[in-house]
């Protein structure tokens, strides 16, 4: 029963949304938006569940002084500090009538002075990781890696003046070898073909997975039967 009802709901909702795709008449055209709202309502409650879990995990860690428990103090303190700053509107110039994100509020300060710089720091790491990953991927150890290296070299040269000057002197019959032209060809022919092949595979995979879910063939996401 614990599985049958969710399976029936999945089947009914899946079928209704497929039908809604082709029928613009009321009430079908509203179904997509309506189910999204239902999902958001559930997500709000689940968010409380998530916050509760975060606290439970870290408070347990602190209580039992498990490995790296001191980091958990930072997490729990941060959680309560931001929650209090927002809920109690600490430092909001207009008091209770003002917005919790108003300039001058503690919440805004915490966001600007800690959250945003930390987020930017994590994002900036990407630049270094791109360099290290490229170094490994472009080492010409195999035939495929060599092709990748050459293609990447052509693409990287294109926006630079060097890319233009290296090959601008080529005669008209060999203009296709001019780096900007070659780069455009790499992007729009082999690269595009590969991308499209992947996209077609993905689209078919999504259809197949969705159908497995709607027909109840794929059930692993439903969890236990309460055995």
């Amino acid at each position: 029963m614990k599985r049958t009802i969710p399976l029936l709901i999945t089947f009914a909702v899946g079928l209704a949304l497929i039908v809604a795709m082709f029928i613009p008449h009321v009430p079908f055209y509203e179904l997509d938006g309506m189910f999204s709202v239902f999902y958001d309502v559930i997500a709000v409650f689940a968010f409380i569940l998530g916050g509760g879990n975060l606290l439970k995990v870290h408070l347990n860690k602190i209580q039992n002084k498990r490995r790296d428990w001191k980091y958990s103090i930072v997490t729990v303190s941060g959680f309560f500090l931001v929650l209090a700053a927002g809920l109690l509107k600490i430092g909001v110039p207009d008091g209770w009538s003002g917005g919790y994100q108003a300039p001058g509020s503690l919440f805004k300060f915490l966001y600007d002075a800690t959250f945003q710089p930390l987020q930017a720091t994590m994002f900036s790491l990407l630049a270094f990781f791109v360099a290290s990953a490229s170094y490994r991927a472009f080492r010409a150890k195999t035939k495929e890696a060599t092709i990748l290296l050459v293609a990447a070299f052509i693409i990287l040269l294109r926006p630079t003046p060097l890319g233009y000057y290296l090959t601008y002197w080529l005669p008209e019959p060999l203009r296709f070898l001019h780096i900007p032209n070659l780069s455009t060809w790499v992007l729009s022919v082999p690269n595009m073909a590969g991308q499209r092949a992947i996209m077609i595979g993905i689209a078919l995979g999504i259809v197949s997975t969705s159908l497995r879910l709607i027909l109840g063939i794929e059930r692993s996401y439903l969890g236990s039967e309460g055995k």
């Binding site: 987020q119 077609i200 595979g201 995979g205 063939i217």
Partner: protein, 411 residues
């Protein structure tokens, strides 16, 4: 009374009488005054005005189309735009509903009620004056029961669904061949390695919610991995960035441990929530990697910029890494940084592949049939297009255009 006013009154009276005598509805005196004082039309009106119920919609929408004024064609034209007026009465009461600046020739009026007759007028605007209006109507908005613009999508969907269902049915009676997927064969290897090393396994189901089919596919694979970790008594750590994923993930892992006969090894904290914030989540997962040194990392789901940060950190700690996503922009990062990558469709095939369930494998074969249809259509399309260009045949070009339209899904 001044003479001027008397004359004006006389002129108005005569004008009103003349209009009435010609069969036109009597107009109020002030509107006649307005008509007389308005500047004479300086530009010619637009033409070929058409107003029709917008097709394939849920009603409350009428489309108005016209051809530009002949004075709007030349550069430096005096026409600055078009005024659209609407009324429920063909003879008057028109009110402006929109002013179109430039040379647009189409407008969708979405402020109408279904089942009501409407009349439309369009005037060309030039400076402070307007052209004579052109009028169209009556037209009524209504809802449609079938979106004909999606008929091609329906045909393709029916073909695909039929192929998948046929193969699911066939799979119950015969053995189906499925090619080996290296990334999925490596799942056992990764779990075995973690067991030998006495270290944990980290599973990241992406940063999207359960309404994303990639997350569903990732969680389905989590179930199979959890069965193996239960069998081998290996630690499993699943940090998630969405609360609903946490709930579903817990149920999935719990079920896997039950099926493996080791419910005693399961605890709710295996699947734990971190944060919805993308980089906050990445920082936490990176921290787990650096502190706990998991022997194997799985990244299966929907990923964005965090893909490379996670995969490179995993690489730096020497973990065996298996990734899978259907985000084409993130695939190169995973390919560069991970040991195995499930590319697009392989992610969706993983659950079926690992479960070895006949019906699930049948759906994979149905997917292959879909690919065969796509390849055939592409070959025919390329052939028709090439032949049409070489021979200049209109028939071949029409067939080519028809095939192209059939597979053009612009939504």
């Amino acid at each position: 009374m001044p003479k001027g006013l008397v004359l004006s009154a006389l002129v108005l009276a005569v004008a009103a009488f003349t209009v009435h005598a010609q069969g036109e509805p009597p107009a109020p005196a002030d509107s006649v005054m307005q008509a007389q004082s308005a500047p004479a039309p300086s530009v010619r009106p637009p033409s070929a005005l058409r107003a029709y119920d917008t097709p394939n919609d849920h009603g409350s929408n009428i489309t108005i189309e016209w051809e530009v004024s002949p004075d709007d064609a030349a550069p430096g034209s005096p026409v600055t735009g078009y005024e659209i007026l609407r009324s429920e009465n063909p003879d008057g009461g028109f009110e402006s509903i929109a002013t179109i600046v430039g040379s647009a020739t189409i407008y969708a009026d979405n402020s109408v009620e279904d089942g009501v007759d409407y009349y439309y007028r369009v005037e060309a605007l030039a400076g402070t004056g307007t052209s004579d209006p052109v009028q169209a109507g009556p037209v009524t908005a209504s809802q449609q029961w079938f979106d004909r613009s999606r008929a091609n999508l329906l045909v393709i969907s029916v073909l695909l669904i039929a192929a998948i269902i046929t193969y699911v049915y066939l799979s119950t009676t015969r053995e189906l061949y499925i090619r080996k997927i290296a990334g999925l064969e490596a799942v056992n290897e990764a779990v075995g390695r973690a067991t030998e090393m006495g270290r944990s396994i980290l599973f990241v189901p992406g940063i999207q919610d359960m309404d994303n089919v990639q997350t569903v596919a990732g969680v389905a694979i989590l179930g199979h991995i959890a069965q193996r970790t239960a069998t081998y008594e290996t630690d499993l750590n699943v940090p998630v960035s969405r609360s609903i994923v946490m709930s579903v993930g817990r149920e999935t892992v719990k079920q896997a441990y039950l099926e493996a006969g080791r419910p005693d090894l399961y605890n709710d904290d295996m699947v734990h929530y971190i944060t919805d914030e993308q980089f906050g989540y990445v920082a936490a997962v990176d921290g787990i990697m650096v502190r706990e040194h998991p022997a194997a990392c799985f990244y299966l789901g929907a990923f964005f910029a965090e893909s490379l940060i996670l995969a490179e950190t995993g690489n730096s700690i020497g973990a065996i890494q298996v990734a899978g996503t259907a985000m084409p922009t993130q695939l190169p990062f995973f390919v560069a940084a991970c040991d195995y990558t499930l590319i697009g469709e392989e992610l969706f095939a993983a659950s079926a592949y690992l479960s070895k369930d006949r019906k699930m494998l049948g759906s994979l074969k149905g997917q292959d049939a879909g690919k065969a249809i796509a390849m055939l259509a592409m070959l025919i399309g390329v052939g028709l297009g090439t032949l049409a260009t070489i021979t200049g045949s209109d028939g071949l070009m029409t067939a080519y255009q028809w095939l192209k339209r059939l597979f053009s899904l612009n939504y």
